[in-house]
């Protein structure tokens, strides 16, 4: 009876072997112990000895073939014997498989998820550093946000979602029937309220309006923008230019660069310019000290620096005092405001409101009319300190400075 020679299993982890060389050919006579072929695993090489005597009837694999272990490699028997029974058979039935651990049923734990954990009232808000930073960046208050992270922690995606839905500021009404939410005023709000009321109650404010031809401004702005894009350090804005013009006008009209204190008036030699800045927490007016010493570039840089510091909340508080500035500028032009009456920061005696730019029909000469961009200027002054005529002269000075503005970019 013919005997199958199988590929031996060389160790537990070996799944197949490569036949390196055959030492016997089909038809060769085989003795027990003859080396039939050599085979190798990735670790070592072995030789396969015959356990049977007879004729090598068939070699089922060639040199270089990879043979799974326990497969029949060759058949030894007597000449002419049928080998059909081994044609496509393996001895896999004897395969001792390793128990597959992966397939075992695993006991289910109940999922404990953070998705539905609601925060109890008064509980500390849990928010990741990344989410907190993102909220600040997007100007989003996270107090009302329901976190979706583990145990209700607010994570970045919650902030992004809140930013998209615009619903972040007003959390869903918690009790039925309430039409509004009661909030305590922040300290900042209280201070602004008191200051504004004090200003309007304790001074004699009125506002003059005019407008300046803005063609020069726009031309300079275009150049400045180009230059910044090419690598200039400062991106000089329209507001920077207006402030620059205001400073020059103030130098010519020192009576506007004043503090009124009871029965004395302090006329400043230097210009300390206040700039109204809108922040998350409310209006702030930081000061650029000695602004009349600055080139337009440095003025732009400093205005940007103090405004940024206000937004970040790390402005030097001394620069926020209304006594710090000698004159202030408030620019609402970017909001499209055409005309307004800014409120003076006492003890300063005037403030310039800067409005949006509007194209207006203008006599271009020789009876030709065309549309020219004009920037609106609103000067509020304290009539206790300044009369109407000098205030108007100062306003005209600003207009002329703006229309004839010149500096090197």
């Amino acid at each position: 009876m013919a005997n199958p020679v199988i590929m031996p299993r060389q160790g537990q982890s070996v799944e197949s072997c490569i036949i390196s060389s055959w030492f016997k050919n089909e038809g060769d006579e085989i003795q027990k112990g003859d080396i039939l072929f050599s085979h190798e695993t990735d670790k070592a090489a072995f030789e396969c000895e015959s356990e049977f005597a007879g004729i090598l009837l068939k070699r089922l694999y060639q040199e270089g073939d990879e043979v799974p272990v326990l497969k029949i490699v060759a058949i030894i028997g007597t000449p002419g014997e049928s080998i059909d029974q081994f044609s496509d058979e393996s001895v896999d039935s004897t395969h001792e498989g390793i128990v597959s651990v992966e397939s075992k049923e695993v006991e289910d734990f109940t999922a404990i998820t953070g998705l539905t954990v609601a925060r109890l009232e008064g509980e500390k808000i849990r928010i990741t550093p990344r989410a907190r930073n993102r909220a600040k960046e997007l100007g989003i208050s996270f107090e009302g946000i329901q976190g979706s992270g583990p145990e209700g922690r607010i994570i970045e995606q919650d902030i992004i979602l809140a930013g998209k839905s615009d619903s972040f500021a007003t959390p869903p009404a918690s009790s039925v029937g309430e039409e509004f939410e009661i909030r305590k005023l922040s300290n900042m709000r209280k201070i602004i309220a008191a200051k504004m009321k004090e200003s309007l109650q304790n001074s004699a404010q009125l506002t003059h309006h005019t407008s300046a031809d803005a063609r020069r401004l726009l031309e300079l702005r275009k150049k400045a923008k180009e230059s910044f894009e090419k690598g200039a350090s400062e991106n000089i804005t329209i507001n920077d230019m207006v402030c620059f013009a205001v400073i020059r006008a103030l130098k010519k009209h020192p009576m506007v660069n004043c503090h009124l204190l009871g029965d004395t008036i302090s006329i400043f030699h230097k210009v300390h310019l206040g700039l109204a800045v809108d922040t998350d927490r409310g209006l702030m007016v930081p000061t650029v000290k000695n602004a009349d010493d600055l080139s337009i570039q440095r003025l732009a840089a400093q205005l940007k620096a103090v405004a940024d510091n206000c937004k970040k909340g790390n402005i030097n508080p001394e620069l926020l005092a209304s006594e710090a500035a000698t004159f202030s500028v408030s620019n609402l032009g970017s909001y499209g405001v055409e005309l307004f009456t800014p409120v003076i920061n006492l003890p300063q005696v005037a403030i310039l409101g800067v409005n949006t730019i509007i194209n207006r029909p203008t006599d271009l000469g020789n009876g030709v009319f065309g549309f020219v961009p004009f920037i609106g200027l609103s000067l509020t002054y304290d009539h206790r300190a300044i009369d109407g005529a000098p205030a108007s002269a100062f306003l005209r000075e600003i207009r002329l400075e703006i229309e004839n503005l010149d500096f090197t970019i």
Partner: protein
Amino acid sequence: MPRIQNIDPAKVRKPSQITFGNIPVNQYNKTISQEQNNYSTDDFVRIYRDMVIIREFEVMLNKIKTTNEYFGIKYNHPGPAHLSIGQEASAVGMAYNLSIEDYIFGSHRSHGEILAKGLSAIHQLDDTALMNIMKNFFSGSALKVVENGHQGSVKELGIKFLLYGTLAEIFARENGFNKGLGGSMHAFFTPFGVYPNNAIVGGSGDISVGAALYKKVNRKQGIVVCNIGDASMGCGPVWEGISFATMDQFRTLWKGEYKGGLPILFNFMNNQYGMGGQTCGETMGYDILARIGAGVNPEMMHAERIDGYNPLAVIDAFRRKKKILEDRKGPVLLDTLTYRISGHSPSDASSYRSKEEVEAWERADSILTFRDQLIEAKVATPEQLDSITANTIAEIKQTLTLTIDEKVSPLLNLVKSPETISAMMFSNQSADRMEEGKCEVLIPMDENPRVKQIKTKERFHRGKDGKAVSKLKQYQLRDGIFEAIMDRFYKDPTLVAYGEENRDWGGAFAVYKGLTEALPYNRLFNSPISEGAIVGTAVGYGMCGGRALVEIMYSDFLGRCGDEVFNQLPKWQAMSGNVIKMPVVVRVSVGSKYGAQHSQDWSALVGHIPGLKVVFPATPYDAKGLMNAALQGTDPVIFFESQRIYDIGEMFHEGGVPEGYYEIPIGEPDIKREGNDLTILSIGSTLYTAVKAADILKEKYYLTAEIIDARSLSPFNYELVIESVKKTGKIILTSDASTRGSFLKEMAQTITELAFDYLDAPPVVVGSRNWIVPAYELENYFFPQPDWLLDAIHERIIPLKGHRVTSNATPNEQIRRNKYGV
């Protein structure tokens, strides 16, 4: 298991008996007059002078330690001073016949040996060579100090230099022999053949054997003397060193000029106490230490006890034993009997020995006895010998004054240069070979059967047709390691590789298959099962100037070579003040399937130790590149491998593993897959666990994970990881090590500090359980599984919609596990 040596049952089962020869004890009995043919008057006087110098040097140290004063010179030395007052004759006798090429290694109590060998070297060196050594050492900074105002010979200057360099080292001064970074217990000076002394008892027991191996393999002149104490006979590494040194193969299998015993002399400076334990009579059982030699090999290690209180007896013994070593019949064991009159350290109250005993030995004092003998034999007059003492005191006073002067001998200035020690932790050099020369190999590389076999393999895990290649036909991780090592054997003539089953077997994990055919025994051999000696000898081999690649088979065996890996290998570069380099790579394999003592990832243990570089590649490309970098460098590298993935193919590096040489810089992690939503940082084979988890995250939860393979543990450049965390805000770390105290914890903490503002969840560590590693069938409950990663992400980082957990990754469970320490 060399096939050429058959073990014949008929022969080894035959009845017989072992007979031992005689071991001489204190046989030397010559007088000065009888020795006058062998020594000149100058020789006798010089022996006396050397003993006096050593004695006075230590008397000074003793006075400074106990009274803060020596002849009115005040100083407080807070550091250690283990004195050997009483042992001078042993030290001088040992060094007398040693040449510059003979190296000595020592113990914590080796001031006397340093000075004795230094004095011997100064005597032998001609003036030009001596001046050159002094001028070149640390740009002559120590020489400048002693040269100032020196009148006299170059040799006298040499002695001042020796005393100053040694004392400055003991007092931690920058001008010390090792910039003050070795100190009293570690001082050494290689140009005089003084190699590291060792504060770990018996520490030199295997390191010195490595030095002898270096001399043998690289055909260097000289012998190696391992000076260790009698009590170190109780230390494993000493026995391991002796076993390694007496391997039969040096005589049976090593060929040609490499044949024969290692040139090492184990010299036990037997002062009869191990700190306070009396070795003969209390803590050991050998009665006479030299007896040990009888049990080691048929030559009985040529063991002998000699009278270490008689310098001439010691000189005589060393002359005879050196000859044995030069005839390649070593190793030799000497039991040099002596006595330490001083305490173990100045705080020693000698409560363990009687006053009578100390007084008896004081009466037998070697210096006084030798002085009387010299006078009696009319070799020298009392006045002559008194003037030696007076001169010595003057020299030591001057040395002390110079050493304690902050202006002349400042400490390292760590205010001005705060990173001075940082700069010495690693030598960070790139060297194709440690020495020029021909690489001894048996066949050209391209005729090697393994090399030929690898040539037929597919070097990427998919073939050109895009189909997966079978394991046997693909280039595996073990092939990557092999290629790098093979390449280095043909580049660096000093490279040796050894460990258990390295030869013939081809390494337990078939990494070295093919190396046996390529290399002679003197470059690749099997060691005893002595992990301590495997690493310890590599330390000695490396510090002498060779490159060693050793293997300890399993990570779990790190405990067996704890001192060598933790105290010796990492420390000597910095402790030498950057005088020596340590180009030693230790291969450590992390097992699986083999249960609690063969499957642990202990990378955190070595990651913790300053002075080691630690890498753990997980792909064939990285394995080859990191092994190349490790073997190109000059620093100790612990090279972790994982048995799970020796057969893995290259799945990440496009184009497969390059055939040529390239290096992966040690310390640089690698992004294996890019992603935006979460970072997974893996160490070792959990890279593939991470890949599986990332696939599920993508398919089921629409999250893309960025997978970073740490590749190295130390050094480690965090920049890549931080950039990834800035992008994703979330990171999970995984490795096969037990979670508590794993290196992932170190990484997670560092990432938290560096990327706190960008984190959208705490960094979460998923390691193995704090258990014994269970049987293979239960391993999935122990090692991190892809599901564990998903569960941890779900519970601690970002809830995954619809995810059902299979493991408990909740904070409460974490508290519970820690509470019970499991």
